[in-house]
Each structure stands twice: as structure tokens, then as C-alpha cells.
């Protein structure tokens, strides 16, 4: 019997409906209320100093679980006050506390103290960088503000002012561009965003506990949480706790993988296989589309057991491989020889296929509008979702990007402005669109152009070191599109989310700077008070010096690894695969699976494959397709919550142990 053709848009729409656990029928409500905002401010500002401190002391912030703790606390308060918490409120609370608690835990995100340390390091002196750090990054190394360890000093005025402006502009760009791309990928192309329901269902399940009747969601969430607690204790807790007490931590399962690469080299030279031991990924296998996981795994197996050892290695394309290498060595050499270039080409094919599929859909929408037929692939928005005019968001992005480019140009006036404009208006939209699509289909980004900054600096023939301290306007808004999908699934109006962020972000920026100031006042960073920083910051300083001086002799091994013929091979072969699948009337998901899996390590996919097989051949039979697709995002959300709680608990114990000073008498 001839296979019936299903268009890509129809295929994606069918999957999107499967993930839409409420059947696409929902009313939208604002999630931003005074109690939510005050709760987020209170919890965020209470936990944020702790998470920054923990990062400097132990290298672990605990920021992953903190928002869940906040939400659980909030729901418990609601229950004891005989009131209810709506899922919209909980999702906004989750988002705002994530924003607040996670803020500043990366020393790079608020780099003032880091640069104050960096310019006084022996490394910066010996690499002749210390005197070349621009005045808009940090004051001079002998400045009073650095000697007094104070961020609240006039010496910091310019770095802080530029930082503040950049942060606010970045927020405008992020919101407007991710919204624009969401409308394109979710509304028009109907991509399913398979991992979005996990976040949505976590908030929904917890909201139900405050209502009159608890439903299946809370039960399933609790099962997931308990599984997460057990797994988290086994996988994270035991190594962390024994690491506090012993010199070598006990790992029952080797973290993060067991490397079988040396074992397979006799029959698969230049192949790699490292079994990832994070079996929490099984739950992702439950959620992600089955055809993608299986085709990805098969393509990865084909690469490592046939393509690499039987074709590329004998042809001496993979010429640096030698026996005895572990997974990291094999990956490094294979990437330099071939896969780095090939993967670049294949990621471009995602953009080409996306555009080829989108343009006809847009034409079709125009035609259907003329026929007054609403429906699939429409840019029409659901009533009450709180959408913004798309021209407004596009205009805001263009305007904020132009202002950003102008400021950067003023900071580095001799750097060619054409490169800045190219990054802002060619690279960033392309990069973001590709990753928005791969998030919509695979739940992860696929487009990464390595060493693009170095390539740019070489091509621009710009030799000053100040360009290394500028944030070039190359951004990726792809991941942000998923957030809008979660808002849609939780029935939260978009405007309430944007308003919440607009109120929260300025507050957080100022609060984080003040907190960094006080933590710096306690003791110098790094110092024995902050052991993690004391161990790692000198290494980071060396690393930074190496990067910033890497192009002085105009030579880079990485750039030499990028070859046009291999990039073309990745691009064209991926297009050919897409075309041939279309000819055979096979689902386009296979394309994303096959092309996503080519060149990858199959060992890292094993947990997801196990999850996909259990889901497909046991769970669906047991619970039925519809109910299983309702259960699994809730289960995964509970699991993440459980693992996060264990992580936070172990960090707290580690913190206590670091705080204990053993006296010699």
C-alpha cells in the first residue's frame, strides 16, 4: 500500500497536540500578583547571597533547586492560609526566583571582582595584559576602590554604568527576539517543543496541592520526586558527602561516563563509545519523540562503528588518531580532522531546511487568510494570551541592537564596525533561528560555531587587546523561545511575565552588585575564606591570558581545522538526506534524528534510548498513549525537583564542613 504523504507542518502539529496535555483548551490568566512578586523578591534576595557565597566556597551554588524550594514553600503557605495558589502564579514565581537566585553566581556574569583580581595577578603581568585592561572594564590596578575592596566607589562608576546599560539592553533584546522567534516557530511552524511540558507540569502539579481536590498530577509528581531523591542521593549525594570526609570521593557509578573507547579500538579504530551514567536522562527519553531518539542513536552508532573506522580512517581523513587514546583524545583529534567542519555544515542545513519549509507556510497562511480560513500554521494568536504586536517586538530588537552596537563601537572605535553589524544583524538572527528550531524539535541547541571570535579578530586584522573585553553582539535567543511555550502551556499571559521581569531585573542587578560588594568586604577574593576561588581563579587567570594572547602570532590550530570541503560535505549531505526522506514520504523527524546523531557518541544517548524503549513498548501499553503523554512530563518535573533538593542538601552540608576550622590544639 502506498504511504500517504504527511507534510512537515501536519507532522509537527500532531506532535504538538500530543504534548499539549490540556488538549489545547485553556484560558489565560495573569500570574503576576503582589504576593507572588513580594515572595519572589523575598526568597530571591534571601537565597542569592548564599548562592554567590557557596559558589566561591564550594563551586556549587545550589541555584537549581532553590526555585523549587521557593515554590514548595509558597504552596505550603497557601495551604496553611486556607487559600489557593494558581499554576500561573507558581510558574511566574518559579521564573522570578530562578532569575534572582541564579543571578551573579557566575563570576563572569558580574565580573567586577574578577577583573579587580585579574589585573593584579602575576599572569596578567607576565603576559603584558595588566596595563592594557580598558578603563570601562575595571579601574587601574592601584586604584583606591581595589585597595579598599569596595564596589560602591566612584572608581567603579564607568564600568558599573556601562554594565547596567548593557544588562538592560540585553533584557530588551532577549525578550523581543525570543518572542519574535517563538511566533515564527511555535505559531507558524507549529514545532512541538517537547521539553516545555516538563516545566509547565511541575508548576501545575504543585498548584493542585493547594486546591480542594488533588488529582493524579500530585501523585505522579511525588513519585517522580522520590525517584529523583533516591537517584540524586546515589549519583550526587554519595560522591559529594564522601568527598567532604575523604580525599577521594566514592563513586558507585563513575561520573560522568564509563569510557569504552580503548576497548573498541581493536575493531573500530578512531571510533568512540563512552557510556553516560546519568540515568536520570531516561526520563528525557520518555518525553522526547521516539523517532528522533532512535534515528539519532542509529546514526551515532553508524558513525562510530562504520563511518569513522571503515571509511574516514582508512582514507586518512582522520589522520591524527592513534591507539590508546581515551574518549576525550579521540573526540579532540576527530573533531580537528573532520567533524568540527562537518558539524558546522550540517547545522547550516537546519537553517536552510527551516527556511525552505517556512516560506511556503507563510504563503499558505496568506492564501488561507484570503479564504478566511483560520487554523494550522496561522500567525493568529489565541485570545487572551497577552501577545504583543510582532512589528513592535521586531522594532524593539532592532533598536536595542543598534544602540548596543553603537556603544560597543564607541568603546572600540578602531575595530571595523562592519564586523559588529555582521554579528548583530546576520549571525545573531541566523544562529538564533536555527537554535529556536532545534529547541522546538529536539529540546536542545545544535548550532555552535566554535572560535568565531578568534576568526573575526584575525579577519579584521585588529591587534589591540581591548576587543577581548567587549561582549560582541553575537547572541542566541533560541533557548528563550521555549519559555514562551511553557507560558502558553501553563495558561499564563505573556504580558504578566514580561511585567514581572521588567520589575525584577533592575532590582536584581542592583542587589547583586551590593551583595558582591559585601562578600568582597568579608575577605579578599580569592583567599582562604573562599577555597574554591582560591584553587580555581589562578587557573582561570592563566587560561584567560592564554586566550587573550593566542592570536598574537596570527596562528590558531582551531581555525586551521575548519575546511571548506568538509563544511560543504556536512551541509550538502544533510540536505540530501532531507530530500531523500521527503521522496520516500518518511517523517521529517527522522531527518533531525539522523543528522543530529551523525558524528556523535552513541554512549551518551543510551539512557535516553532506554527511556524511549520503555516508554514506547511498556508504558504506552500499560497506560495508553494519551495518559502516558500526560504523565511523563509531570514525572520528569518531579524527578528534577528531587535531584535538585538532594543537590542543595549536599551543598549545605559541604558548606558547614568548610566553615568548621580545626584548631591545632
Amino acid at each position: 500500500m502506498a504511504r500517504e504523504r504527511v507534510s512537515q507542518a501536519e507532522e509537527w502539529q500532531a506532535w504538538a497536540q500530543r504534548y499539549d496535555v490540556d488538549g489545547g483548551l485553556r484560558t489565560f490568566e495573569s500570574g503576576l500578583t503582589l504576593k507572588v512578586f513580594l515572595g519572589a523578591v523575598f526568597i530571591g534576595l534571601l537565597m542569592m547571597p548564599g548562592s554567590i557565597y557557596l559558589t566561591l566556597v564550594a563551586g556549587e551554588s545550589g541555584a537549581g533547586a532553590a526555585p523549587w524550594v521557593a515554590v514548595i514553600l509558597f504552596t505550603e503557605l497557601a495551604r496553611r492560609s486556607f487559600t489557593t495558589a494558581r499554576r500561573q502564579e507558581l510558574y511566574i514565581l518559579l521564573g522570578l526566583t530562578t532569575l534572582a537566585v541564579g543571578s551573579g553566581t557566575q563570576y563572569r556574569a558580574y565580573p567586577f571582582v574578577w577583573y579587580a583580581y585579574f589585573i593584579n595577578t602575576p599572569q596578567a603581568q607576565s603576559y603584558e595584559i595588566a596595563d592594557k585592561v580598558p578603563y570601562w572594564v575595571a579601574p587601574a590596578k592601584d586604584a583606591v576602590a581595589i585597595a579598599e575592596r569596595s564596589l560602591l566607589h566612584m572608581d567603579w562608576f564607568l564600568p558599573l554604568a556601562i554594565f547596567l546599560i548593557f544588562k538592560l539592553l540585553a533584557e530588551v533584546r532577549y525578550i523581543s527576539a525570543s518572542y519574535f522567534l517563538f511566533r515564527l516557530t511555535a505559531d507558524l511552524e507549529r514545532l512541538p517543543y517537547p521539553l516545555a511540558p516538563i516545566q509547565a507540569q511541575g508548576a501545575t502539579a504543585l498548584a493542585e496541592t493547594t486546591g480542594q481536590g488533588e488529582t493524579w498530577r500530585w501523585r505522579v509528581f511525588s513519585i517522580g520526586s522520590m525517584a529523583g531523591l533516591f537517584w540524586g542521593f546515589f549519583y550526587i549525594g554519595i560522591p559529594s558527602l564522601t568527598g567532604v570526609m575523604m580525599s577521594t570521593p566514592i563513586q558507585i557509578l563513575k561520573i560522568p561516563f564509563i569510557d569504552f573507547t580503548p576497548s573498541i579500538e581493536s575493531f573500530a579504530p578512531s571510533g568512540m563509545f563512552a557510556l553516560w551514567t546519568n540515568f536520570g536522562l531516561i526520563l528525557q527519553g520518555f518525553v522526547l519523540p521516539f523517532p528522533i531518539i532512535i534515528s539519532e542513536f542509529v546514526a551515532a552508532m553508524f558513525t562510530q562503528f562504520i563511518l569513522n573506522p571503515r571509511i574516514l580512517y582508512p582514507l586518512e581523513i582522520l589522520h591524527q588518531w592513534r591507539p590508546g587514546l581515551d574518549m576525550r583524545g579521540v573526540k579532540l583529534f576527530n573533531d580537528l580532522d573532520f567533524w568540527l567542519s562537518f558539524n558546522m555544515g550540517k547545522s547550516f542545513s537546519f537553517a536552510a531546511v527551516g527556511l525552505a519549509a517556512s516560506i511556503p507556510i507563510m504563503l499558505s497562511v496568506r492564501q488561507s487568510r484570503q479564504q478566511e480560513a483560520a487554523g494550522r500554521g496561522s500567525m493568529a494568536t489565541p485570545p487572551g494570551r497577552g501577545d504583543f504586536p510582532i512589528w513592535l517586538m521586531g522594532g524593539l530588537w532592532v533598536l536595542s541592537m543598534l544602540v548596543y552596537v553603537w556603544i560597543v563601537h564607541r568603546m572600540v572605535p578602531n575595530f571595523p564596525v562592519s564586523f559588529l553589524l555582521g554579528f548583530a544583524f546576520l549571525y545573531t538572527p541566523l544562529h538564533s533561528y536555527i537554535n529556536a528550531r532545534t529547541f522546538g524539535v529536539l529540546g536542545r541547541p545544535l548550532f555552535v560555531l566554535p572560535y568565531i571570535h578568534q576568526a573575526t579578530f584575525i579577519l579584521s586584522r585588529y591587534e589591540e587587546i581591548d576587543i577581548w573585553f567587549v561582549h560582541l553582539p553575537d547572541e542566541d535567543y533560541g533557548a528563550g523561545t521555549q519559555h514562551w511555550r511553557v507560558l502558553e502551556l501553563t495558561g499564563t499571559t505573556f504580558r504578566s511575565d514580561v511585567l514581572g521581569r521588567a520589575l525584577m531585573v533592575p532590582l536584581i542587578i542592583v542587589a547583586t552588585i551590593v551583595v558582591w560588594h559585601f562578600i568582597w568586604q568579608i575577605a579578599p577574593i580569592p583567599s582562604s575564606q573562599y577555597p574554591f576561588a582560591q584553587t580555581w581563579w589562578p587557573l582561570y587567570a592563566t587560561d584567560e591570558c592564554l586566550w587573550k594572547t593566542s592570536l598574537r602570532d596570527g596562528n590558531s590550530q582551531m581555525l586551521q581545522a575548519i575546511r571548506g570541503d568538509y563544511v560543504s560535505a556536512g551541509f550538502t549531505s544533510s540536505l540530501a538526506i532531507y530530500g531523500l526522506l521527503w521522496m520516500a514520504k518518511l517523517p521529517s523527524m527522522w531527518f533531525y534524528g539522523i543528522v543530529g546523531g551523525i558524528g556523535q557518541d552513541p554512549g551518551m544517548m543510551v539512557p535516553k534510548v532506554i527511556g524511549a524503549l520503555i516508554g514506547r513498548f511498556y508504558m504506552i501499553k500499560q497506560f495508553g498513549l494519551k495518559r502516558w503523554f500526560m504523565y511523563n512530563p509531570v514525572l520528569a518535573a518531579g524527578f528534577i525537583c528531587g535531584v535538585g533538593l538532594v543537590g542543595m542538601g549536599t551543598v549545605a552540608i559541604a558548606l558547614v564542613s568548610k566553615a568548621v576550622i580545626v584548631k591545632p590544639f
Binding site: 500517504e4 504523504r5 507534510s7 512537515q8 507542518a9 536552510a352 531546511v353 525552505a356 519549509a357 516560506i359 511556503p360 507556510i361 504563503l363 499558505s364 492564501q367 500554521g377 571548506g564 570541503d565 563544511v567 560543504s568 560535505a569 551541509f571 550538502t572 549531505s573 540536505l575 540530501a576 532531507y578 530530500g579 531523500l580 521527503w582 521522496m583
Partner: protein, 55 residues
């Protein structure tokens, strides 16, 4: 239109294989194959969205 898409995709795929084996994988030849494939894929989607008779 569907037939045209079939032909272009088929020719593009064959030409890519040819460029690898007979032209030492020169990037210019590969990109020509890519252009043929992209045109074929666009025509395929245009046909699907605008001209295909749906049941």
C-alpha cells in the same frame, strides 16, 4: 510540481555523490549540488502547502 521536486532532489543527491567521488569533494561542486537540493526542497514544500490536494 511534485515531479519537478522529485527530479531536482534526485539530481542534487546524485550530483553530490558524483562531486565526492569524481571531483575530490571540491567545495564548489558540493555547493552547486546543495543549491539544486535547496531549490528542490523549496518546490517540494511549496507544492505541499499550496497545491497538494488534501484529503
Amino acid at each position: 510540481m511534485e515531479k519537478l521536486a522529485y527530479v531536482l532532489i534526485f539530481v542534487g543527491a546524485i550530483f553530490w555523490v558524483f562531486s565526492i567521488f569524481a571531483m575530490q569533494g571540491r567545495w564548489q561542486a558540493q555547493l552547486l549540488a546543495a543549491v539544486i537540493l535547496i531549490v528542490g526542497i523549496i518546490i517540494a514544500h511549496v507544492w505541499e502547502e499550496l497545491f497538494r490536494e488534501k484529503k
